[in-house]
Symmetry: C2
């Protein structure tokens, strides 16, 4: 919050368009990504799309965080190596740089740390960091790119995850209709959508869904007023701390692009945004909303769809006779 | 061949750069794609990347014909629904418009016909045409796009496969170093590569690998002089005709971008281009090449890597409450 206030202040001083941001709103507009190291972003983009970071040679970061589909896979839980069913819903990679931590339980402090997880997770990409790095080291174009970008002769997992994280840092979605409204364009959203936003604030959704990402900045118990019924065994933060107080405590997901990131909740059990709004109001706030109010809030939520990252599909450098071969079957 | 001669003649008349094409070479340069219906290409691109054409919601055309990886999956055989092992190596989609027919056994006459196959193949995308069409019909942005492009109120599989084929028609790879050499740039390839090309012609590779795609324009028996040893049960054209003369008769694959489309042959059994050259020379031509000659031909083959299709990753319109849900598990 301190950082944001400083930012707002500095923007006010520069006198540009951002200075028009209503300072009294709990949601702030997303700023375009500041890309300071474009060559890292380009390298990270290749790695994000490269299925050779998986044992099968078939699964890439983009498989479960599909940038054609809101940075998610739009499945209840993901498909991993050998078609294993994942334990939890794949969170969107869009605007993930704004999360206070990564994964639903926050077990990775940074995007860089997160990126290392799926590669070696036996249920996801099922590879090892060593084999992933061996694969990249065998490819002259990758060796050259890492040398140019990181000044290293030998690629390690450290540079690999750093580049992926740099690419992910670029995946922000500014200029949603709601952001344009925040910045002063009164016509950017309809009266119904505005009423939905007012309801969203009035009933208390913004207690957790606030900031530029409209979430992602706190852990909260799922089922605060009323218990959440699910077959999914995930325990949230308690899985890390072992504390009973942390049971079903999950990172509050961002609501940016929520129209694109169905199905909803950590178990992906709800496909309809309207139902999800209803569940949240009842379980977290003890409110039974009317159908009309649910529709208004849903209409507001759809104004949070921002400009999707736009870039040329990366062309990957080919394997060669020295490259370890993928092992999709057995 | 007739078409090509007419084309060459017409180009000679126009007096442009293409007129410099050596008319006595068995390989012709690839011409850039002539896109007459860009709106079909754009729609087809979305469909090509849309995993909602599969039962799981996870597998798209691009999964096995990955345009980041030479239009192939670089696996021995592909991964289908529920991680089923495919029966045959996935051929590249690049320059596939130049094939005389589609699939290794040529069972689809056109790209449009081919596109319908994997969607409903239980071992691949495992969907039905009806469900795929239902999915698209539920999405207003797709309905609108099909209406604009095809003037139809109701999407059918016919327009879906037509649009995918139109996109695939655009996936040609001109301007390889070899094509630049064909067009008169003497320095575009090295002396070793040129020697490799001469060998390629002299020993008879061009009997089958000729034309702009350096293949794709005839069916030939795999193992003409010496039998090809494989565990793969595919019988080629005989699987369609039942004729013994058609056993192991397969469409000659294009050698364009062959550096990118490993592993090789219909069973994907060979990962090294050098080994593949050796096998072909022995089994098809009865020639035992020296290591030096194999290296020269391999060097030539790598000059066939053309400009890869370059385009912005498509953003897919989201599903909604009316969209049938994917069924990845069970």
């Amino acid at each position: 919050m301190k950082k944001l206030l400083i930012l707002t202040a500095s923007l006010l001083c520069t006198g540009n368009a951002w200075a028009m941001t209503p300072s009294n709103e709990p949601i702030q507009p997303i700023l375009p990504a500041k890309i300071t190291a474009p060559e890292k972003v380009e390298l990270g983009k290749k790695l994000f799309f490269d299925p050779r970071l998986s044992r099968s040679g078939f699964i890439s970061c983009n498989s479960c965080h599909n940038l054609s589909m809101g940075g998610s896979d739009n499945l209840q839980t993901s498909i991993g190596h050998n078609w294993q069913q994942g334990p939890i819903n794949s969170p969107t990679v869009l605007n993930s740089s704004m999360n206070l931590a990564q994964f639903w339980d926050g077990r990775a402090a940074t995007l860089k740390e997160q990126a290392a997880g799926p590669i070696s997770n036996p249920g996801e990409m099922a590879f090892t960091h060593n084999l992933a790095v061996d694969t990249l080291r065998s490819i002259p174009q990758y060796r050259e790119a890492f040398k140019q970008v990181y000044k290293v002769d030998k690629i390690t997992i450290d540079e690999v995850t750093d580049a992926i994280a740099e690419f992910e840092n670029s995946l922000v979605t500014p200029n949603s209709r709601f952001d344009r409204w925040l910045l002063g364009d009164q016509d950017a959203i309809t009266q119904t959508e505005l009423q939905g936003y007012k309801l969203f604030k009035d009933i208390g959704c913004t207690a957790c869904h606030n900031g530029p990402a409209v979430g992602g900045n706190s852990f909260q118990k799922m089922g605060l007023v009323e218990a959440y019924k699910t077959d999914n065994p995930a325990e949230g933060v308690a899985g890390l701390t072992g504390k009973d107080a942390d049971r079903f405590k999950f990172k509050v997901p961002t609501l940016r692009n929520v129209e694109l990131t169905y199905p909803y909740f950590h178990d992906g059990a709800y496909w309809k945004l309207e139902e999800s709004v209803d569940v949240m109001a009842r379980l977290q706030l003890g409110r039974q909303l009317s159908g009309e109010d649910i529709d208004k809030i849903t209409a507001f939520l759809k104004t949070l769809t921002g400009e999707q990252p736009s870039f040329t599909l990366p062309i990957l450098p080919p394997s060669n006779n020295d490259t370890p071969r993928p092992k999709p079957f057995g």
